[in-house]
Symmetry: C2
Subunit: 81 residues, 2 copies
């Protein structure tokens, strides 16, 4: 069982890393890019048979409290078997 957390900067927040990747892609000759957002990806392996609802609750809590900064970042949590 695995949990996947994707943390991205909020749309209104400056994303210098994204801007850098966007201009790099442009310089590389790839022209169809209108925006790039760079975030963090956290994959958490859970003990088999973990209760999905309890894990979701605990990880939402963790993501909100210390994995992301809710002032400037959004996160998505997904639990897969």
């Amino acid at each position: 069982m695995k949990a996947k957390i994707i943390i991205t900067p909020k749309k209104a927040v400056l994303d210098p890393q994204g801007k850098t990747v966007q201009s790099a892609l442009d310089h590389m000759g790839y022209k169809g890019v209108t925006g790039v957002h760079v975030g963090k990806y956290i994959e958490i392996d859970l003990v088999a048979g973990t209760d999905k609802a309890a894990a979701t609750k605990a990880l939402n809590d963790a993501a909100h409290k210390f994995l992301s900064n809710p002032v400037i970042e959004d996160y998505r949590l997904e639990i897969v078997d």
Copy 2:
């Protein structure tokens, strides 16, 4: 149209950030965690109507050449409408 690239350290490579998150989760009281891997998430907005095959090829190239370090990282590319 969007491309999503997830870059993770290869399994054999030390992942100190992952270890830190794992021990933090443990200290926080969440005990069912057997491993944590921290990687990068890049979301690329593409002009509507971009040719999917061409975009896949160009972005695979970009991911291999400068978005990831193929010696120590793996990446997954996904293009969604």
